[in-house]
Structure formats: C-alpha cells, structure tokens
Point group: none
C-alpha cells in the first residue's frame, strides 16, 4: 500500500512518514503543491494525504487536478480550519474525507483504513494456489508454512498476485514495484523473481511464477 503525503511542515510530514512506515505503508512526501501533483501523476498511490495550506498550488487545486485526470485515488484533507464552507469546498473538489489538525495519529489511521477498505473491498488477504499473503500483518504463507520476505519481494509478489492470470510485463513491474520510469537496462527483476521462487517453491515443484520470454512474468495457479 502506497501513500503520498503533501505537506510543507517538515515536523508533521516526518511524523506521518514514520508512523505510516511502521504500519508498513510505503510513503512518499511532497513539500509543495507542484511536487505533489507531479508525484501523483507519475506514481500509482493507494491514498493521498493532502494539506490544505501548502506552497505553490493550493491543496484544493491539487485535488481538483487529480480528479480531472480521472483518478479515483482516495484523498484525505489535513486541515487547520474547520468551517463548514471549507469542508464543503474540499468535498466538492473531490476529497473523500478530511481531518482537522491537530489530530491523534490513531484517528488518522482509522480514517485511512476506512478509505482503503472501501477501495479494496476488505481484501487484506490475497491468495493464489498454496500461497497466501496477509497485507495487514505482512505475513506470507506457502503451504501453511510461514515465509519471510523482504519489502521488495513482498511488493513484487503482491503485484503478481493482484494481477494473477494476466501477464505482468517487465516495464509494468518496474513502474509499479520499483517506481522507476526511464531505466530499461537492469536485472533487478530477474534477481527478485529468483529469490521469490526459491523462497516460495518447495523444491521439486515447478514455480507458479511463469516466465514469458521477451515479455515478462505471470502468476498462475496449478
């Protein structure tokens, strides 16, 4: 799960980044509106935390722009104000929720979970054949035995399983899991796939991650 924080006050953004990191979200931070908008177009976030008052383009305008580009990513406003008109403005601009500063971290977390749940349809467990991954606890089981995966391995597996039955091209994988955009000459994917297969396959059996030569990989049952 990947979250973008658009917030100029270093104190708050660090606090959020650390807190959310501990909850095992991948977190990016943008310190102003322009940067925030750019990151949100380039990357694929599961949720965006947007401060109302930021340098550059205002939060509300960032929100409007994102919606204009046909993205339905959940957006939660962080606002110091609490007037009715502001709230209305925010929701009209396409926000899903807002929280008034100062807030308790637990409360924010609860609201984030609400947004992600409606988006994911309560899906915290992904399954494919013998492999089961719990997104909340970050645990992975293969044939009921627990397997320890690193961050990268975990996201790669998550991407493959979310797209099970479809080919994941190398380019798509690099974009979604590594967040690289114009770097085609790398073999990180091969290595990471290698690790995954080693950790998840029980020796004899052939991998459920199939290679499609010249294209990419696909996760398939059976």
């Amino acid at each position: 799960m990947r979250i973008l924080i658009v917030e100029d006050e270093k104190g708050i953004s660090n606090f959020l980044k650390d807190g959310l990191g501990e909850e095992s979200f991948a977190v990016d931070v943008a310190a102003d509106g322009n940067k925030g908008l750019e990151l949100s177009t380039v990357n694929d976030y599961d949720l965006i935390l947007l401060d109302w008052m930021i340098p550059g383009i205002s939060g509300i305008e960032v929100c409007r722009q994102i919606r204009k580009s046909n993205s339905f990513v959940p957006i939660i406003f962080l606002t110091a104000k609490d007037t009715v008109s502001d709230t209305v403005f925010g929701l009209e601009a396409g926000a899903n929720d807002y929280i008034k500063k100062p807030f308790k971290f637990e409360e924010l977390l609860a609201r984030i979970r609400v947004q992600l749940r409606t988006k994911e349809g309560e899906q915290t467990i992904l399954k494919l054949g013998n492999v089961e991954m719990n997104l909340e606890t970050h645990q992975v089981f293969s044939k009921l035995r627990e397997v320890t995966l690193t961050q990268k391995e975990f996201s790669l597996l998550e991407y493959l399983i979310r797209n099970k039955g479809k080919v994941c091209t190398r380019t798509r994988i690099i974009e979604h899991v590594w967040d690289m955009h114009f770097d085609s000459d790398t073999s990180v994917i091969d290595v990471c796939i290698n690790f995954l297969r080693k950790k998840l396959d029980d020796g004899s059996e052939s991998s459920f991650i199939h290679t499609i030569r010249g294209v990419g990989y696909i996760a398939r049952e059976e």
Copy 2:
C-alpha cells in the same frame, strides 16, 4: 502493429521501445526529425509517437509534413510543456493526442490503444475456428489445448487473425510484424508460418493458414 518513436533521448526511447515490444508492437526509433520524417514516408506505421523538442526538424513540423503527404496515421505528441498554446499548436498541426512528460507508461499505453481502437476488454480475445488467443494472458489455445508460442509466432498469428479473411501480403507481414532492418529477400516468414502450422494444426487436418502463391497468406475458418 507497428509504431515509430521519434525521440532523441536514448533513455526514453529505449524504455519505450522495450515496453511497447513487450506489448507485442513492432517498434522503430528515429533520433531526430529528419530521420523520423524519412522513416514515416518509407514505412507504413500504425501509430507515431513524436517528441516535441528534437534535433533537426521540430516535432511539430514533422507532424505537419506527414499530414501534408495525406497520411492519416495517428500521432501522439510527447511534450515537456503544458501550455494551452502548445497543445493547440500540436492539435492544429494534425496530432491526435498528446501526453505530458513525465508520464506513466500505462497511461501512454491507454492512449495508444484508444487511437488504435483496440480498447482493452473489447479485444483481449481473438478467435478463428478452433484457435483462440488471449492477448492479456498471452495464451493460445487450439481445440482447447494450450499451445506455447514465441514472441514472433504470437505477433504473426495476431496479425493474421486480426486480418482474417483478407490476404496478408509478404510485404505487409514483414512491415507489421517485424521492425526495420530487413531485406525483402528472406524466408523468415516461411519458417515462422511453418512453426505456427505445426504447433496449431492437429496432424491430419489441413491448416487454417492458407498460402496464396506469389502473394502471401490468409487465415480463414474451416
């Protein structure tokens, strides 16, 4: 499906070439305006990606020239700028769409698909007689039995089936399935057709890929 990329930054053009290759497009690259214009007159592309700022003739001028020669090939501009006037200029010069750098690869892909009118969901499965190909999973079935094809075999089959009932001349096949650097005096097609027939036909029956002597091939039911 064949695409021309006119782009001087090696990093970007390589990235695009690889990514589109994985989506089973045949891709040519031109590093400047003159080369781009030349290739576009010599070859028959299904779509052109045109960078705005390139050495030699500018992207916009290339676009104008192509249109002047009465070609209606879809053109998508890659642009770093985003002012209204630039967009207007581009569209006036005859572009069909434009995308602002930096962009997500999949967004570009979506726009390409729109131009080629092969929207996802509509055409992910191609059928002809007993043969069925799923473009998303890269799987091919013949009489319900799965068959493994290589990249080239896959693209060739795709081209034949997309044009089912029509004669595909050798020249067209070479142009659309292979990329440039090809002398006409080669028998790659024969060989590839041969493989396809072997893999897809169940022995006794005659192939659904018919040879038209002196012209090319045609895929026909029954």
